[in-house]
């Protein structure tokens, strides 16, 4: 069948064949015409010539018919062959394309020739084979991706379950907020603490669910749950003794810790609130404060009697007692004073902790006030042979805003400590300086100083550097705690700088009167 390299050469051959036949026919006609001419040009035309002429014409007509028929047959045959072969190739290619289109990449178009359709078929076969390979690979990778997705999904759901089990297991309430401060997570304990169920609060603003109070002040949402866009990760707010009021009517005393994660902005997670229910502890603490306060009140009455009777007894027996007895009674008096100081301090602490310890600050000539306080304790310093000096400021200083009755306790406390903790022949210096809109008062001693490890605890309740009975100096461990509270109620600060064996400098600041 494959006679020709391609359809173009097939057509050219048909054309050439036609031309050759046409020319051959023309040539034959020409020869025949020449023979006729010879006859026609004869001067005399014989009977033979006429017969000859007729024969030639007949032969010409026959041959012409034969030639024309041959030409037609050849052309038509070749054309039919071409058309048939074209239609067969097209059909095969169409069939192949349809099969490939349906995804049968294994199908091969059965056209082997070198002509155009053969080339197309070969190309399509190759492409189809490539597609087949590509599809196989695709299917393979799809399977592996599906497997991976399955694994990941299982991991994620395990992670989620693990998280929710952990969250429901912890005794703190955990509430997560999105960037708009709407609730996106609410654990079991949050449900118990607030009285809401998770489905009731999901998507609601935190302020529609709970409100936090510091004392009487309602904490604004921007204060306890600030939205920071700086990628900060960690705790952004923490406060003890916060009162949490649930809109459901449940109140609790809590410790509120608010954190955020660095990727918060990308995953729309604003804050994570961790709320520890401290209601029970708070009640116990209140009971403790109440008990201490009541006990101290009860102690105070007999103590007042003891002090009163003792002072009358000592006055009426001045010079009448033996030296030995006088020492005994003096020690009773010292102990009574210590005890009554302790009771007063405990009462002050309980007032501070109940928030009922108040100050009534008014303008106060501070330089004069400090100078007087220093003079008042001069005798005690002198008894220990300590040099106590008040350095007058080089320039006139303004008054401060302070409650005389309260702030004098701070001064006496710092001066007493300096006297108590400075060995004989040491020195104590008191001076005042102005720092911006505050007056800072310093009390420096040449005592043994505060051990480094004691410094952070020095202003804590019941803390005594060196243990409860340090160096025979009697004290309650409440003085500096009370002093700190008093100074802070005046919006001032109190601090200490100290090196062991080099002495200490206690300082506190008070706002200047404007």
């Amino acid at each position: 069948m494959k006679l020709f390299k391609n359809y173009r050469s097939q057509l050219i051959l048909v054309l050439v064949l036609t031309i050759v036949l046409v020319f051959g026919f023309g040539f034959y006609v020409h020869i025949a015409t020449l023979n006729l001419q010879v006859i026609v040009n004869k001067p005399i035309i014989t009977q033979d010539d006429v017969t000859n002429f007729g024969n030639i014409l007949t032969s010409l007509s026959r041959t012409s018919f034969f030639f024309l028929a041959l030409i037609l047959v050849v052309i038509i045959t070749l054309l039919i062959y071409t058309v048939l072969s074209l239609s067969y190739s097209l059909e095969e290619i169409l069939k192949g394309i349809q099969k490939i289109g349906k995804g049968d990449f294994a199908y091969q178009i059965p056209l082997k020739g070198t002509n155009e359709f053969g080339q197309i078929a070969q190309f399509l076969n190759a492409a189809s084979a490539q597609l087949g390979i590509a599809r196989k690979e695709l299917l393979k990778s799809k399977e592996s991706v599906e497997l991976q997705i399955k694994e990941r999904t299982a991991q994620l759901s395990a992670e989620k379950n693990k998280m929710s089990v952990i969250l429901s297991g912890i005794t703190d309430s955990v509430i997560a907020l999105d960037l708009k401060r709407n609730i996106v997570m609410f654990n079991t304990n949050a449900e118990l603490l607030t009285g809401f169920t998770t489905s009731q609060v999901m998507g609601k603003s935190i302020s529609q669910v709970v409100e936090f109070f510091e004392g009487k002040r309602s904490l604004p949402i921007d204060e306890y749950a600030p939205v920071k866009s700086d990628g900060f990760e960690g705790i952004v707010f923490v406060k003890e003794n916060v009162k949490m009021a649930s809109v459901k009517g449940k109140d609790a005393w809590v410790r509120l810790t608010v954190s955020q994660i660095g990727e918060g902005n990308q995953v729309n997670l604003g804050n994570i609130l961790t709320i520890r229910d401290r209601t029970r502890e708070h009640e116990l603490e209140e009971m403790k404060v109440d008990f201490v306060s009541m006990a101290a009140h009860e102690l105070r009455t007999p103590l007042t009697s003891m002090k009163g009777y003792l002072s009358v007894f000592m006055n009426e027996n001045k010079g009448k007692l033996s030296q030995d007895n006088q020492i005994l009674i003096n020690r009773v008096a010292i102990s009574t004073d210590l005890l009554s100081g302790l009771v007063e301090n405990i009462l002050n602490v309980s007032r501070i902790e109940r928030g009922v310890y108040t100050v009534h600050p008014a303008p106060l000539d501070w330089v004069q006030f400090v100078s007087n306080a220093v003079s008042d304790v001069q005798i005690r310093a002198h008894e220990k042979n300590l040099r106590l000096t008040f350095t007058q400021p080089s320039e006139p200083l303004p008054s401060v805003i302070a409650d005389k009755a309260r702030i004098v306790e701070v001064l006496y406390n710092l001066l007493s400590n300096a006297i108590n903790y400075t060995p004989k022949d040491g020195s104590i210096t008191v001076w005042i300086e102005r720092v911006k809109d505050m007056l800072v008062t310093h009390v420096r001693d040449t005592g043994k100083g505060v051990p480094k490890e004691a410094l952070p605890h020095l202003f804590s309740k019941f803390y005594r550097a060196g243990g409860p009975t340090s160096e025979g100096v009697k004290g309650t461990g409440l003085g500096l705690y009370i002093s700190k509270s008093i100074v802070e109620l005046h919006k001032g600060k109190i601090w200490v700088e100290s090196k062991e064996n080099e002495g200490s400098t206690f300082s506190f600041s008070l706002p200047i009167a404007t």
Partner: protein
Amino acid sequence: MEKKILLIEDDEFIGYIYKRQLEKNGYKVNLFLKGKEGLSDAMTNPYDLILLDVMLPDISGIDILKGIKEKEGIKNTPVLLLTNLGQEEVIKQAFALGADGYLIKASYTPDQIVNEVTMFLKQHQQQPVA
């Protein structure tokens, strides 16, 4: 002429030692351990000074003060409160009702109380009583 002081103090020991020291210094002292009895005594007997404990079990010192200050004839009798530390609120209230001063019991010895009383009466006498 010896001055008469009404002392209302529920703690017997404290009441006794104050009375003892005041009498040693020439005052005539009537001590009442019960607030109500003290008040009714104040209504009938004239005094130069009333020393009044503000924390009493049967009736509050504030109520006694009100009773005294509302009664014609005795409302000008000066009243000094006997208080404890940390009773600023009661003291404020008492001053508003017309109390003349206060003495913190824990801060004074009985003799110092006598001194304060003597000083107060001396100053009070110099001022014309309205």
